[in-house]
Amino acid sequence: MSGCHDVAPSGSGPSEAAPVVALAGNPNAGKTTLFNLLTGANQRIGNWPGVTVERRLGTARLQRTRATVVDLPGVYSLLGGGGPDQEVARDVLLDGKIDLVIDIVDASNLERHLALTSELLETGRPLLLVLNMVDEARANGIEPCAHALSAAMGVPVVPMVARRGTGRPELLAAIERALAAPSRGEAPAYPAAVERALAALSELTEVAAPARSRFQALRLLGGDEAPATRPVAHALEHWSSAALEETGEDAADLTAATRFAWAHRLATLGQRHGARRGARQRVTDAIDAVVLNAWLGVPVFLAVLYLVFVLSFSGGNILLDLFDGASAALFVNGSGNLLLRAGLPGWLVSVVAGGAGGGINLVATFIAPIAITFLLLAFLEDSGYMARAAYAMDRLMRRLGLPGNALVPMVIGFGCNVPAILGARVIEGRRDRLLTVLMQPFMSCSARLTIYMAFAAVFFRGHGGQVVFLLYVLGIAVALGTAWVLGRTAVPGTPAAFVMELPPYRLPGFRSVWLQSWQRLKVFVLRVGRVIALIGLVLFVLPGIGWVDGRLTSTDVDHSLLAQGSRALVPLFAPMGMRPGDWPAVSGLVAGAAAKEVVIGTFNGIYRRRADGTAMDAYRHPEVARRLRAAAATVPANAAGFLNGLRDPLGLTAIGSAGAAERASGADSATLRALAADFTPLSAFSYLVFVLLYVPCASTVGALRREVGWGWTAFSAAYGLAVAWGAATVIYQAGSVTLHPLSSLLWIAAVASAAAVLVTGLRRYGRRRPRRARRAAGAYT
């Protein structure tokens, strides 16, 4: 993702000349909505360097100039607290090169939001206050007074309803004025003794940026940070007691109390209270009474989950065949035909059209379900429900040693593990975050579904639905079990206490949901597309060359490098029922380590290679128009099938009919017939269990490395392989115990003792590093 790192947080980069405007505010203040309103589709999403925290940059067109707008993660305080996402926001606000900070506050909860404003004023940066959600404030009987606030703070204040776009022209004009003539406002004044202490302490800190050193002094004085050196500790003691003598109060209490008193005074100035309690509050109370109910909370969450499944899988299926057929027509047949006509040699046409084109075809097939998953998740995130789900599930999760908010990433993991790992950033404690991240690779993502589909079509026709559902449940069970075991052995501790804001319910704006999911989809398709097209290319070449008679030469599939390599690995899989002839399945696993989407692609690559003649035929007579028409024709039929899907969230009826499942899996029937010859239902199920649990895909490994470092990433991959091998072996051996009772029991006993050794090792690790464990338990925040 080269595009992510070359734009520094300071905003240097493509729009070097444009002034940089940063959006800051508490979570749920409406920053992202405002960001979308200011920049429209003109935005780029990437990651902040070093962390998987989404970074959004965009360009706002002002009357005379343009400004680069940075959307920062929500932050409660510049003094500390929160996960790595809040750290990112703090770093930018304290050190970044910013020309203007737009502080977005929720007018319906003014006092608390102004606490951050008081800290922003202390940074001495040019500030502009957006008084957002004035409609909600009015609905709550509060009348915000922007003029009074502006006069008291000395910075411009713009009242807005960002969700509806109300106040946009006023804001653009105010930004332009603020950039031309910045106002830094007036920070809350501490008692003179505190100011002297702060000045002395900031001199001692070894930080260049003035805002950073002042906040470090504030953290020291407030007791948020322990002094790092002896002189600092000495000075802190001296100045604290001086302040105590002069004011009669503890300096730590004084700093916080001054800011809160300031926020309280400004909030009182900035709003008039009406009498009535708004209808919106009553609606929220009514919905909360159901979704937070002691008995209904969990079932409601499961129902929401079910709905996400129904709409993603069944809704995605409506367009799945269209994307599949159309992209095959254009990128495989169409491009093959063009290249042939251009006079390229046949082998090169095969490589480009069959390999790279086939790879693109594979990605395109998944665009519809993944887009719908992203849309639904953006909708849920904006609606205010996810925080309630976390609260509702907290009790249950806590029994497994996890906090309730670990659940949200798991739901996202059903779509794709990468955003799930990214979603774990909202979890505050280091131990809790580590456990949550390590669970994610076991959540069965949509890419793995294609493999289940292909196998279910062949082996489990009548019971395909149950088999696939069982695999999903197994994934969840292994994920929770992993957290349970690790939380008791390698990273002991108790989950952090549940303290979380429940944002008000909002009907998410179409524009906001659409923009958010569109940006994510774009990143996903480009990144995954590149990987898969490349792998498709390699996989098309590998089955065609082999080491024969001491030299590398073109050969048939069965004597290729791929076959030779895979055959060498087959014995490792023998305990889970694999035979030497099953080498294509092993090739699939090796390729699937890069991206699970390509397991079936590999099967296709191998068998399409055998059928290269017919592919050439297709390039000569591409019939692009007819194929496109045929692809379009699948939409009405699939739409009718969608209604069935409402009863069948995983699209499992498709498995009942071989043809439908075959289409859904993207494998052609020759591939499926070959599978049928190579597997028994039992070994096929063991293979699927292995596919579900083994190493995370390359993108997931990248996300893991950034979040938890190489050590835990290596552990995750090795642990995944071990669990996958153990589970698949136990299942196969238990299923075939009547055929060879002694060896089966020996294998099962071997896996059980290996598991015992693993647990003992993990426990020893947890004991050997008590300091690390204590830190991981969250004591350091």
Partner: protein, 99 residues
């Protein structure tokens, strides 16, 4: 944070925790007894001494949802007892404003 002397031995009639309140009750926070990280997190979310809160949901086996300012803050069962409060008499001006 300074602890007010005397509350240990002889608690004034006002000293209760969120767990002792009824749904719909209002109360003024007197102190946060939890660990540093918990009390810091509560302070960031607006739960701090002197602030009036209202129990919007619970307390039940899950915890409770408090109304603080214009926000709703969910607290897990384990931290309910760390928020020490003095209940406000229903009908008083302060109790009405906390609604």
């Amino acid at each position: 944070m300074k602890s007010d002397p005397g509350t240990r031995d002889c608690e004034p009639p006002g000293d209760a925790s969120i767990a002792d309140l009824e749904r719909g009750a209002t109360a003024r926070v007197t102190r946060i007894a939890g660990s540093r990280s918990v009390s810091q997190r509560m302070r960031m979310l607006g739960i701090r001494p002197g602030v009036d809160v209202r129990v919007l949901h619970g307390p039940d086996r899950r915890g409770a949802v408090l109304g603080v300012g214009g926000a709703r803050i969910a607290l897990g069962r384990a931290v309910l007892s760390t928020v020490r409060v003095a209940p406000l008499e229903p009908g008083t001006e302060a109790a009405e404003r906390a609604r």
